[in-house]
């Protein structure tokens, strides 16, 4: 056998095995996927990581807004009780100008908000199992969600700090309170009723990280 034939055989074998593993990796949770999970994570999950849940199984259907409020002390409140909206301005500018980075800038906070509230996409199967009555899955879900939240809140603090560092008038403040606002739109049958459900979630008050580079858009 010539070297060319050996190389051809190896590449063909790699092609078949690689895409069999890829199909298994992207498939919904099933017994075969569970059994081969370590192999899948070591191969596709490390070097060919992919997620094709493009607005699936259900599309994004809420506006998730980041609100921040600079404070002097951890438990103080501003007289005006004013909250700064860090999400809507990006969307408004993005709607006016698609050839811009507003989408990417908003994306960093949107994913942090979504992961803070519901955990990342890998937790969905565990959450589904918990909803179906598996108490072990519920414990695992709660534990993983808590871990995820800690990481994502750290990012939200950085984003909030970057905003505070961007505005000279906020230099005097040392803490920032973070709130997530979820605006849920009416279902199809109520589409003409104009009722938007608003839910606020207070995440906490954190020290402003003065070392974070400001975006340069809010000044």
């Amino acid at each position: 056998m010539t070297i060319v034939k050996i190389v051809k055989g190896l590449t063909l074998a790699w092609f078949v095995v690689h895409f069999l593993l890829t199909v298994l990796y992207v498939s919904p949770l099933n017994p075969l996927k569970l059994g081969l999970y370590p192999l899948l994570e070591a191969t596709i999950g490390t070097y060919f990581i992919q997620n094709w849940n493009l607005f699936a199984p259900n599309p994004v259907q809420d506006d998730m807004i980041l609100l921040v409020q600079p404070r002097n002390m951890e438990d103080s409140v501003l007289m005006t009780n004013e909250w700064y909206n860090l999400s809507s301005p990006f969307w408004a500018h993005f709607q006016k100008n698609r050839f811009s980075a507003y989408d990417r800038l908003a994306r960093s906070q949107s994913s942090a908000i979504r992961n803070t509230l519901t955990g990342d996409i890998n937790l969905i199967p565990i959450y589904d199992a918990c909803q179906n009555g598996d108490s072990t899955s519920c414990q695992v879900y709660d534990s993983l969600l808590a871990e995820r939240r800690e990481i994502e809140v750290d990012r939200l603090v950085k984003i909030a700090s970057a905003f505070c560092n961007d505005i000279e008038a906020l230099d005097e403040y040392s803490y920032v309170a973070i709130r997530i606002r979820v605006k849920s739109f009416p279902a199809w049958s109520e589409r003409y009723e104009d009722e938007v459900a608003i839910n606020d979630y207070d995440i906490g008050t954190y020290p402003i990280d003065k070392s974070i580079v400001p975006m340069g858009l809010f000044d």
């Binding site: 092609f15 094709w52 699936a56 199984p57 809507s88 989408d103 990417r104 800038l105 340069g216």
Partner: protein
């Protein structure tokens, strides 16, 4: 001939999809250039040592030694990120203008992975498929006449083609399959819901999606398109399916603003058209009445201008 024998013949005979390869390289190169042009002013904020990243490390992909080297080179100082973006820019431009495309694809791939690991939160599906395509693109040649192309290089090129096509089929099939399991896609209200979300919509078009026909059709068509994709591209409906895909992604670019995602996906759709089909399309366009009419008008105007110049002289 068995399927395997046909596939073996396709892999061995000649390098396939040369035109499609060029189009894909140009689309991915342009998408990367767009990202660099728009995100460069925010490079420090996004990826810098004092930015919002959670210090994601390149070690996850490149291993401890090389990964730590990349981390300290590109993120150890405020200027490293500009070096990385410059490398990415050079790679992207090389892809667009067809210079050393294999090396360009490799450079783009490495830079892309490092950026993605540093801040995964800002990536989207377009970045995901771009990264995978760049990896497979390292196997492709876009200049078979200039390169000293032997049997092995033909095989490697065609394996790369097969990888990209298979990956695209997996993308569409998975996404379509996931949509089918979603209640909002099943009941045809998905596009109405998306039209309300500020991030992915244009306020002026919201009213459109309160129409039952528009919202139902616009929810079902992408689902059916994706599910049937792997079958349709090997059938007589291939070019029609590709046309639908291009229209779909142009709509996504316009309505949802996902410019880079749509550019890459359109490049991948056009990649599926074979060189023979491109030749046939060119003949069809040239022979078409519209083209003939335009050409005739152009020739007449040219003759008029020539006569005018002669008279003046």
């Amino acid at each position: 001939m068995t399927l395997f024998a046909e596939f073996n013949k396709w892999l061995s005979e000649k390098p396939n999809r040369i035109i499609g390869t060029r189009i894909l390289q140009i689309c991915i190169g342009m998408a990367i250039c767009f990202r660099i042009a728009t995100e460069l002013p925010f490079a420090q904020y996004l990826w810098g040592p004092h930015g919002i990243s959670l210090n994601g490390s390149a070690s996850q992909f490149f291993g401890p030694f090389l990964g730590r080297f990349f981390d300290s080179l590109f993120f150890g100082s405020p200027y490293g990120i500009y070096l990385l973006l410059f490398m990415l820019f050079l790679g992207a431009i090389s892809l667009v203008i067809n210079i050393k495309t294999r090396i360009a694809a490799l450079v783009c791939f490495i830079a892309f992975v490092i950026l993605e690991l540093r801040l995964p939160a800002i990536g989207d599906g377009g970045d995901n498929i771009s990264r995978l395509t760049l990896m497979y693109m390292v196997l492709l040649t876009s200049n078979p006449s200039k390169e000293n192309i032997n049997k092995l290089k033909v095989w490697i090129h065609n394996i790369g083609i097969a990888c990209i096509i298979t990956q695209l089929m997996i993308l569409y099939e998975t996404s379509g399959f996931m949509k089918i399991t979603g209640e909002k896609w099943q009941n045809g209200t998905a596009m109405y819901l998306i039209s309300n979300v500020e991030w992915f919509s244009i306020p002026g078009m919201r009213e459109l999606f309160t129409n039952p026909i528009i919202t139902t059709v616009s929810s079902y068509v992408p689902m059916i398109f994706m599910i049937m994709f792997p079958v349709a591209i090997f059938s007589r409906f291939k070019l029609v399916w590709i046309g639908i895909g291009i229209c779909l992604h142009m709509g996504i670019a316009l309505f949802m603003g996902l410019i880079t995602f749509s550019t890459v996906m359109i490049g991948l759709e056009l990649f599926l058209i074979t060189d023979a089909e491109y030749k046939q399309l060119k003949i069809t366009v040239v022979n078409s009445l519209i083209y003939k009419n335009i050409n005739l008008q152009y020739q007449n105007k040219r003759a008029l201008i020539k006569n005018y110049i002669k008279k003046e002289i």
